[in-house]
């Protein structure tokens, strides 16, 4: 396989377990075992260079944890993450950690918390440049920061301001400029627009798209909002309780969702132009991640669940059309095919 054909990002069987046990003495006295929380449990995916993979799912299903695993904020409990053919986690620990960090950057959800309130915009954006020794000369730094600001639609004069002097959308652009400073190839965006209102969201999404077009960036895009996901992504992964339950091309996923959970999610999207029409909310409550149901985690809420679903954990299998689904019902054909897929 030559370099061009190999996907830029390859996550294989990534897992992250948090130890949320009570203190040792309590456990001993109350004879309780360690409590482990499987935040991410065996997630695998690839992203081609210049493409966008979106991850969707309910709150707490492990999207952010995946993001943090990819940028090295967490070390995985299991599995591996290859970036451009190189084991990224080994690299993060090794001698060329800097080189790897330069190539992977992240944009955070909260535009208000992700900028140090005491720093000027110029310093915020210049920090990665200085840190990686890309530029040290003052004038050159200032020029580069100006360029970066322009590239996200801000003016170089904004350098001298503090974050609180900007609106939410502008701040998010500053974060993007900071992420772009090291000219990364891969950007992890963890709900970059969910704190913004629609008109500002449009501005930010447009900039991200423009950048991708111009610089060939690769994105992992995390969001709750399916409409946004549909707009930005090439492929979509649906997560439920730490596992990937469906992974497909955008078109296929939206037109022919296979997994019962994906369908429920799509049904829950409010339809803009059907005013007054009730939508079908996802039924039931999200299970406790500390004590997930056995077998398929979705089985308590699934209309197609049977004995097997309650016992055996489904694997992510290709359905032959490029969609990968983890569902016994789909595998056994118990789910009726939506029209578009037929």
């Amino acid at each position: 396989m030559n370099a061009a054909a190999r996907p830029l990002v390859q996550a294989h069987d990534l897992a992250k377990t948090f130890d949320v046990s009570a203190p040792w003495l309590n456990r001993v006295l109350e004879r309780r075992p360690r409590t482990l929380l499987q935040a991410v449990d065996g997630v695998s995916f690839e992203i081609e260079r210049g493409q966008t993979l979106a991850l969707v799912g309910e709150s707490g299903c492990g999207k952010s944890t995946v993001a943090r695993l990819l940028v090295g904020l967490y070390a995985p409990t299991r599995g591996s993450f290859f970036f451009d053919g190189e084991d990224a986690h080994a690299a993060f620990k090794g001698s060329n950690a800097r080189a790897m960090r330069r190539r992977i950057q992240m944009i955070f959800q909260d535009p208000y918390a992700s900028l140090n309130p005491r720093w000027k915009v110029a310093d915020i954006i210049a920090e990665p440049l200085r840190e990686h020794g890309i530029l040290t000369d003052k004038a050159a730094l200032a020029e580069r920061v100006g360029q970066l600001l322009q590239s996200v639609g801000l003016s170089p004069q904004d350098m001298a301001k503090y974050p609180h002097q900007f609106s939410g959308g502008q701040r998010q652009r500053i974060s993007i400029a900071r992420a772009l400073a090291t000219e990364p190839e891969f950007l992890v965006c963890d709900e970059p627009t969910s704190a913004l209102d629609v008109s500002v969201q449009a501005q930010v999404l447009n900039i991200m798209k423009d950048l991708q077009r111009k610089q060939g960036l690769t994105y992992l895009f995390i969001s709750h909002n399916l409409a946004v996901v549909r707009h930005v992504s090439d492929r979509v992964g649906v997560m439920y309780l730490g596992r990937l339950v469906e992974l497909a091309d955008k078109q296929r996923l939206f037109s022919a969702p296979r997994h019962p959970y994906t369908r429920m999610l799509l049904d829950a999207i409010p339809k803009m132009h059907d005013t007054g029409h009730a939508r079908t909310p996802v039924q039931g409550e999200v299970p406790n991640p500390l004590n997930p149901p056995s077998g398929c985690a979705f089985n308590p809420r699934c209309p197609f669940a049977n004995e097997r679903c309650r016992k055996e954990r489904p694997q992510l299998l290709d359905d032959g059309h490029g969609t990968r689904v983890a569902c016994h019902a789909v595998e056994e054909g118990r789910v009726d095919m939506p029209a578009a897929a037929a």
């Binding site: 940028v71 090295g72 904020l73 950690a97 800097r98 960090r101 330069r102 992977i104 950057q105 992240m106 955070f108 959800q109 909260d110 918390a113 992700s114 900028l115 140090n116 309130p117 005491r118 920090e127 990665p128 840190e131 990686h132 974060s175 900071r178 090291t182």
Partner: protein, 303 residues
């Protein structure tokens, strides 16, 4: 410089300062005290620390406006014939130095350890916080009492400056705990903020993150605590002096003056106690008021 000045003048904190008469009065008092203390040599009419000028015959003269007083000693003299006014000015200098130095020391120690504990977590955090518990279960005066006693005993021939060092040390040794706890608390909050994570993703070294990102953002409450602690430290020094381990008697601090004056409450020579007491209250009050005002002014939610 002009620029920063005008920006400061324009800022909300400065505005709230200008509109708060209490803060202005407090600041003026504090300023007068500091100036007097800094330039004690020029401001004070006599040098109370120069023993050869003391005139035992002039002991316990009342203030100038009372019968028997002379204008040579505006506020009267104490039992050694020291001019009270000069002693106040020089004493305030010592008290301020002790107060400020011990606060600076405890801030440095406390903030450092607090940052470390909050950032490192794990056993470092555990050990440091248990240490805080131990310190907390040792009442402040007790520690100061013991340490000051020890210091005096270990360096009996120490010059006065060393005695002050011991005093400052013993006060700061009890003071740092508060800072450590506060800073650790805010560090725990701050280090999970996204801007710190952004720095980590960029690959900034932990020490650098701590210093450049976290530290400036946890200093707010520290400043407020510190202003209040200056006053507390001055009073602690006075109390230590009451218990017999304060500043040396030949170069008395405000606390020592009050302690000595304490014996004159019933004898009718009230000025020996009252003036140092008033001075101490003024200093403590102005510093506290400033701290108070700062706390309200720095809290955007109260504006």
């Amino acid at each position: 410089m002009m620029h920063t000045l005008s920006r400061w003048y324009d800022s909300d904190v400065a505005h709230s300062f200008r509109t708060s008469p209490v803060a202005i009065v407090a600041a003026i008092i504090a300023l007068v005290c500091v100036v007097c203390a800094l330039f004690a040599g020029w401001v004070a009419p006599h040098n109370p620390f120069d023993l050869s000028t003391l005139e035992l015959g002039d002991a316990r003269l009342p203030p100038a406006w009372i019968e028997g007083g002379t204008t040579k000693y505006l506020l009267g003299t104490d039992d050694q014939g020291r001019d009270i006014l000069s002693a106040l000015i020089y004493g305030a200098r010592i008290s301020l130095v002790v107060g400020l130095a011990s606060v600076v020391l405890s801030v440095v120690v406390g903030v450092g350890l607090g940052l470390w504990a909050g950032f490192a977590g794990g056993w470092v955090d555990g050990v440091l916080m248990r240490l805080c518990d131990v310190m907390l279960s040792f009442p402040a005066i007790l520690i100061a009492l013991l340490i000051a006693g020890v210091g005096r005993a270990v360096f009996p021939n120490a010059p006065d400056s060393l005695a002050f060092g011991v005093l400052i040390l013993s006060i700061s040794l009890t003071g740092w705990v508060q800072y450590a706890r506060t800073v650790r608390g805010s560090t725990l909050v701050e280090r999970n903020k996204e801007y710190v994570q952004a720095a980590r993703v960029t690959g900034v070294a932990p020490l650098r993150i701590m210093r450049r990102h976290v530290l400036p953002n946890v200093l707010g409450p520290v400043m407020v605590l510190a202003t209040i602690q200056v006053a507390t430290a001055i009073i602690t020094e006075a109390t230590l002096s009451f218990l017999g381990v304060g500043a040396p008697p030949t170069s008395p601090s405000l606390g020592t003056l009050i302690r000595v004056g304490n014996d004159y409450l019933f004898s009718g020579e009230w000025w020996i106690t009252v003036f140092p007491g008033v001075m101490l209250v003024l200093i403590a009050l102005s510093v506290n008021l400033l701290g108070d005002w700062l706390r309200d002014a720095l809290n955007p939610r109260l504006r």
